[in-house]
Symmetry: C2
Subunit: 200 residues, 2 copies
DNA sequence: CGTGTTTTAGATCGAACGATATAAAACACA
DNA sequence: TGTGTTTTATATCGTTCGATCTAAAACACG
């Protein structure tokens, strides 16, 4: 019983994601956002509240469609070792295609926004915790079915895999290089043991 | 043959480092900087040029006294394996004491500033490249004297160690936890092989 | 076809931004 | 003790910031 929205909220959020992703939170102005979202400043404030609330919406939307979503699709569908490797290889390829050096919005926000905003910090910590937990479950599953060596605790292997993921995301914003990324991954995969567990 | 400086440039730069380190580049205003540096805006611009030039000076000064300096002091003085472990353990302890979640200025700048400013990107890439090169030299030296297993190429081990360093620095800004940091390190050190190479 | 409600567009708010102009103050050198 | 030069302090400069006001436009409902 009122005038309807003239813009697609999802598309507008995608445009906001693009802005925050590329330039960061502080360097993105509300005028930048409104222009890229194809709406006026008044509509932006009417629909989303303020800049910070819009950022939270953008961060949440990005999170739902990022690595966490890929993990949900892979886990249980492919063997654990392959799931781990696929997640990290996809991030490597994405980072090498990322000529604008956007990196990952969650991890960019981890450094720029999270330390000063408790709710963003919680959201970022939650996402990274889920990734670490996935790695841990996958390693444990691989150890259970014999495809991953049980000499290391799955928690520690998962932490190294998380470090590799974070390392790739950081270097993607500075100097994306295939050999660097694949070297990080190769050594981490060594922690899983030989690919085919040679029986005797 | 003129009026002398009334402020200590080094101390002023330290104050500027503190500002950029804690709040980041964009969120730090020139007025914040001048106040913390104990000088007026006019003196700041007269002495340093503009905000970006001051940031570069601060980043350079920080870099000279950070991990790179510690590496220079350790390398050649202690066994390679111990040098690697000391560097990373120091970063872990520093991160756990870092209640303000400042992390590392170089890596914070890697995400916020480097993608958009070629000269900062070059400076950051140079610093991280030096750290990776140190890890590589240390692993190679350890392999040469038999204290590090030669089954992995030193380049790849160095890349994983760099990823662990970056991972610690990222998580230090979000959620510093000893078990996470030490788990990253433990698994990376596994790549070096057993501490005492058991003969037969 | 009014009435009520929300969204739109455009103008603009006060505050803060990076940076500068001006002139007095503090030195080196003659 | 003048002269030249740099640094200092104060008061801004014009711009942009995040956010809001006003009123017209667009719908649902009666």
């Amino acid at each position: 019983m009122a005038r309807p929205r003239e813009f697609d909220e999802a598309a507008a959020l995608d445009a906001a994601i693009e802005c925050f992703w590329t330039r960061g939170y502080e360097a993105t102005s509300v005028r930048d956002l409104a222009e890229r979202m194809g709406i006026t400043g008044a509509s932006l404030y009417n629909a989303f509240g303020d800049k910070h609330a819009l950022f939270r919406r953008a961060l949440d939307r990005y999170s739902e469609r990022g690595t966490t979503a890929r993990i949900a699709r892979l886990e249980g569908q492919v063997p654990p070792r392959q799931a781990i490797e696929t997640v990290l290889r996809d991030i490597i390829e994405e980072s090498l295609r990322d000529t604008a050096r956007k990196g990952c919005l969650v991890i960019n926000s981890a450094l720029e926004v999270a330390p000063h905003e408790p709710d963003c910090r919680q959201a970022v910590a939650d996402r990274l915790g889920r990734i670490e937990a996935f790695f841990c479950r996958a390693v444990a599953a691989g150890q259970a079915d014999g495809t991953i060596t049980p000499v290391l605790p799955p928690e520690d292997v998962a932490r190294n895999l998380l470090a590799v993921l974070l390392g790739i995301r950081v270097m993607a914003r500075v100097q994306p290089e295939r050999e660097l990324f694949e070297g990080m991954l190769r050594s981490a995969l060594t922690l899983l043991g030989p690919v085919t567990p040679a029986a005797g």
